[in-house]
């Protein structure tokens, strides 16, 4: 599904964020990406959605080289990929329903379709009862689940989660993890960048460790290991 072939990425200061990295992600996988802060995890996710450009190598998504994708076509690529961040990025003046509807509106979904789909997505993430709540009225875990619901609104084939439990307590973090597993079981590939050792160990799925922009360890059904 996604292939990184000898990908190198520098930032302005000359530091190497990714160094000659090779990686292959298959359909339906759940991969945990671990490593110290600044190891290159977030850069790897940003490259997949075309937020950053690579310096050398190739990234193929379903055999499409994303460095060849025109800037004007990037939005269509992003509709196939859901993204979730540590800071959730919810609009504070919109309800849970409206936050999800907003994502569907900007991509041209019809109003009727939005009215039909959003409750289903809220149901999936277990927040049907919070549809009219504003982010300020929800717990961290609930907000993150709204963010995940928004990322799912386009039925993406891949879900990228960058430290989604970073700001959450253990109970909320577990709830978010369970939701990610549920989404993965429904067929969506999940790539989770995290520092949460407990969660990674609980998953018992593929773990990739990155250090200084290079993959230092790959384990099938692995553990958190730096």
């Amino acid at each position: 599904m996604i292939k990184f072939q000898k990908v190198t990425k520098h930032y302005n200061q000359g530091s190497k964020a990714l160094d000659n990295l090779d990686l292959e992600i298959h359909h339906g996988e759940f991969i945990s990406l671990v490593g110290r802060s600044g190891a290159g995890k977030s850069t790897l996710l940003k490259l997949i959605i075309g937020e950053e450009e690579i310096d050398s190598g190739r990234i193929l998504i379903d055999d499409i080289d994303i460095s060849q994708v025109r800037k004007s076509d990037l939005p269509y690529l992003r509709r196939k990929i859901g993204v979730v961040f540590q800071d959730m990025k919810l609009l504070p003046k919109r309800t849970a329903f409206e936050n999800i509807a907003f994502a569907m509106e900007v991509c041209g979904h019809r109003a009727q379709g939005i009215k039909r789909e959003v409750p289903k997505i809220l149901e999936l993430v277990g927040l049907a009862h919070k549809r009219n709540s504003f982010p300020g009225e929800m717990s961290g875990g609930e907000k993150q689940r709204v963010a995940i619901a928004r990322a799912l609104s386009h039925r993406p084939v891949l879900l990228l989660a960058d430290e989604p439990t970073g700001n959450l307590d253990e109970v909320n973090a577990n709830e978010v993890l369970e939701l990610l597993i549920k989404i993965n079981n429904l067929g969506t590939t999940v790539l989770l960048a995290t520092h949460a050792a407990d969660l990674v160990n609980k998953l018992k799925k593929r773990v990739i460790t990155i250090e200084n922009g290079k993959i230092t360890l790959e384990q099938e059904k692995g553990h958190y290991k730096l």
Partner: protein, 307 residues
């Protein structure tokens, strides 16, 4: 680029942005209104002056008086020569008989003139050609063309314009030149101010909506979907400024302008000319407003909207 639903949402978001930043929107609209009012006034002044100039110029022609007894064939051949000259616009021939008829008709109530004419045995009026040039500055050349030796035996005399008319033309030309120079300068200054104010307003809107923009980008909104509302918002400044200017111009068009126009040039109906057509002017104002708005928005988007 996008379907009708997206287009509707872009326009709606543009209106919402305009409304949410009402004080900023009002400031941008006011500055744009001042620019458009100046533009409209200068446009009308330019139109009135050119109209006056046209009126004076239309009174100028070269009258060529032929020696009496000259055959009509010869005059017609000179007329053909003149018509072949590229600087000549029209040549009108008036025979001596016709000139006399017209003279009689013009003074039909003047007994003394009628009596004097009746006492004459010969027609005292010469045949004439009235030559009108395409441009005012062509008259001296046409005059020298007619001064050629080959015509000397046939032409009794010729005249064009009096000194006062020439002076009026000179003055009007100077006024026109001043309006153009002063107008372009003034318009440039205010256009620049309008562009800067709109640039800053749109920049603030971009800043206020940075969260929404970031989310839109992440969930796959097209670039035009993100930029569109800012363009709509700025076009609204131009639109409302045009509406205000149009209302301010209404009394000028309905009362003031017809009187002035009649005074300047009673023969020409000014409303046949584009510059004095109300809707034409409004269209021009909207065009100017929209162009200024779009240019400043593009500058702001280019600088601050990262897509």
């Amino acid at each position: 680029m996008f379907d009708s639903i997206s287009f509707f949402r872009i326009v709606k978001t543009g209106f919402v942005n305009f409304w949410r930043n009402l004080s900023l929107s009002a400031a941008a609209t006011m500055v744009m209104t001042i620019t458009l009012v100046i533009f409209a006034v200068l446009f009308l002044l330019f139109g009135l002056t050119s109209n006056a100039l046209d009126a004076v110029q239309s009174r100028i022609d070269i009258s060529v008086y032929f020696k009496s007894g000259l055959g009509e064939d010869k005059i017609k051949s000179i007329q053909l020569d003149l018509e072949a000259n590229e600087k000549v616009d029209t040549v009108v021939y008036t025979s001596a008989t016709k000139a006399l008829e017209e003279f009689r008709k013009k003074h039909e109530n003047d007994f003394l003139i009628q009596q004097s004419l009746n006492e004459l045995t010969e027609n005292p009026l010469p045949a004439t050609l009235n030559v009108r040039a395409k441009n005012l500055e062509d008259y001296p050349q046409i005059d020298s063309f007619l001064s050629d030796r080959k015509y000397a035996d046939f032409i009794e005399s010729k005249s064009y314009g009096d000194d006062q008319t020439k002076l009026a033309i000179e003055r009007l030309n100077k006024i026109l030149g001043f309006i153009i120079t002063f107008g372009v300068g003034l318009i440039s200054i205010f256009a620049l101010i309008a562009v800067l104010v709109i640039f800053n307003t749109i920049t603030l809107t971009i800043f206020n909506r940075r969260e929404e923009v970031e989310i839109m980008r992440l969930v796959g909104a097209t670039n035009w979907y993100i930029r569109g509302p800012f363009l709509v918002e700025s076009i609204l400044y131009g639109f409302f400024a045009t509406v205000i200017t149009a209302l301010l111009m209404l009394p000028i068009f309905s009362n003031f302008l017809p009187r002035i126009a009649l005074f300047v040039n009673p023969q020409v109906s000014v409303f046949n000319q584009n510059v004095f057509n109300y809707w034409y002017l409004i269209f021009m104002l909207f065009l100017v407003g929209a162009i200024l708005s779009v240019v400043s928005t593009f500058l702001a988007i280019r600088k601050y909207l990262k897509i």
